[in-house]
Assembly symmetry: D3
Homo-oligomer: 122 residues x 6
């Protein structure tokens, strides 16, 4: 697990989640090999591509997870990552609301509930 690509992905993931290695170790025990694939594909191949800053990538992720409708556990994780990438509470709420005309209120309300839990009002 020490290829250059893995190290590059892990470094990017740690910018979003300082405790990433703990979660990866748990996943590795449940499904050997999948944690490595996630780090190399999601966080090296995709998240380190040029042309879009990390905060905008993470807001894109929040929009994508909201649109799926069923991805509330993943929204918990990625809204936290979005804050770590420098997004404000307001930007996260606005990205979720912006999807409403395209995906409908149920997906949006489910995502807003998660956002309200992860980043409650000051």
């Amino acid at each position: 697990m020490s290829s250059e690509k893995y190290q590059r992905g892990l470094k990017r993931l740690q910018e979003l989640d300082p405790k990433a290695e703990e979660s990866l170790a748990i996943l590795q025990r449940i499904v050997p090999g999948l944690a490595e694939a996630i780090v190399e594909y999601e966080f090296a191949d995709i998240y380190t591509r040029p042309g879009l800053d990390l905060k905008t990538r993470q807001l894109t992720t929040v929009a994508s997870l909201t649109s799926l409708g069923y991805a509330t556990p993943q929204l918990h994780v990625h809204i936290r990552y979005a804050l770590n990438a420098g997004a404000t509470r307001q930007e996260i709420f606005e990205v979720i609301i912006q999807t409403a005309p395209f995906v409908g209120f149920p997906a949006v309300i489910n995502a807003l509930k998660v956002a309200h839990e992860v980043c409650p009002p000051a």
Copy 2:
């Protein structure tokens, strides 16, 4: 159709699509009232909310439509709007690719085909 809210939505829509009134007139002939609802809800209530600039709203829309998988006709329209909102070809491609770990390759490949048609390489 001349409420303050309608005028505010139409102005925002025209920033994205200078020929918006032609499309709205066609929709009005097919389904009376729906064009007005779209302008007032989508483009006034949602698109003029504070806290997120127009370009980021439009990149969010591209991520959301990509994630649905079946919204390729709407991607045609909204990728064009994204260019008009100041997004670059590269940013549009990167937003689509960023959704891949969350929604899978079929939705992403379908969206990339549309992006390649709307904004071919220079």
Copy 3:
């Protein structure tokens, strides 16, 4: 293919589509057995249940197919069935539009295009 259940399903299907047996014969040639399952399950088990008239069942079907987003070929068929079940053009359009707050505009616009083709304005 002449069980009581098959006959009951076929009779119900023929209320919606007088030429049903032609379509079933084509499907039977492509996938033996599936046409029979569709007649017995969809049109006998489900469509002949008590408690909801045929027109309301068919409007429900239009709402359901609209919400899936990708089911435009099936909407072509079932909007025609809805007309045969006594639904008006206006009722079909309204059922499609009623889903908009829940499933978003892309699914609704795709369904309205089909409805406009199947039942153009007088």
Copy 4:
């Protein structure tokens, strides 16, 4: 929040939910402006369109939410609204079951569980 459109939407919503203003106030505190957009768009623009009675609109909503698969919190609310709009327990169950051939059993079983909670047998 006192436009004619808002008042028209609120009146329609209150036919479905006599305690609507309480829920709207909670939403307003979490996401300023969204409650107003929901009342004006969903309940004025869409729910007060002519051509479909309120009970049929609400049965359409139940079919649409069932078809999404992930919208069980919203089904809780809208099945209650359907009862308030005059739908019977049997009609609600039949609308959910009618979607089965199109969306599959998982979405239907999830919706039936909600319906069984909201309107248990007499």
Copy 5:
């Protein structure tokens, strides 16, 4: 409920779930008629078709339920059925992981959680 088709479906279902009749009796009390439709359509019409052995049918079902994203209660049931049909723990995990490039990580992670509960490591 004693047609030849019902008996054939019930026999197939009991290969997957020895206590099937208890679950069917509960469903019959909640929604009269639906249990019969499920046995005759799902387990007779579909599950007893020739050309694919029961274990492969059940792995297909796990892939299909994973891909929907929202069908975790049904995955609980059908992963148990897959074990009863002779699939190994590893085959079930691999089928879920195989869908990742097509449906994305959220659906896959949700399904892996269920699989980890139903068949924990030895």
Copy 6:
């Protein structure tokens, strides 16, 4: 593009598609880097995992793409791959039909149309 992982993925992909390098070159011209990510993640990380033979992996893929409903262009490709992996025409049709109780007829009929085009009756 000559890492061990890339070579391993390419070899696996070429078992499914002898002309893979042509398609990868086209994709590389449209979106630099994505073809490499697909080969390394999809075809090395996932498709070369132990515990499931290539034919079963490919039938799983067909079930997954069918269930998405909108992935017909990808079904064209992957049904062809399934034949190359040793699946019979009948197995492919049966896998598609097996998803029907879970995802509904529209997704299944759309997939059967593709299967009928890619592998017509002898």
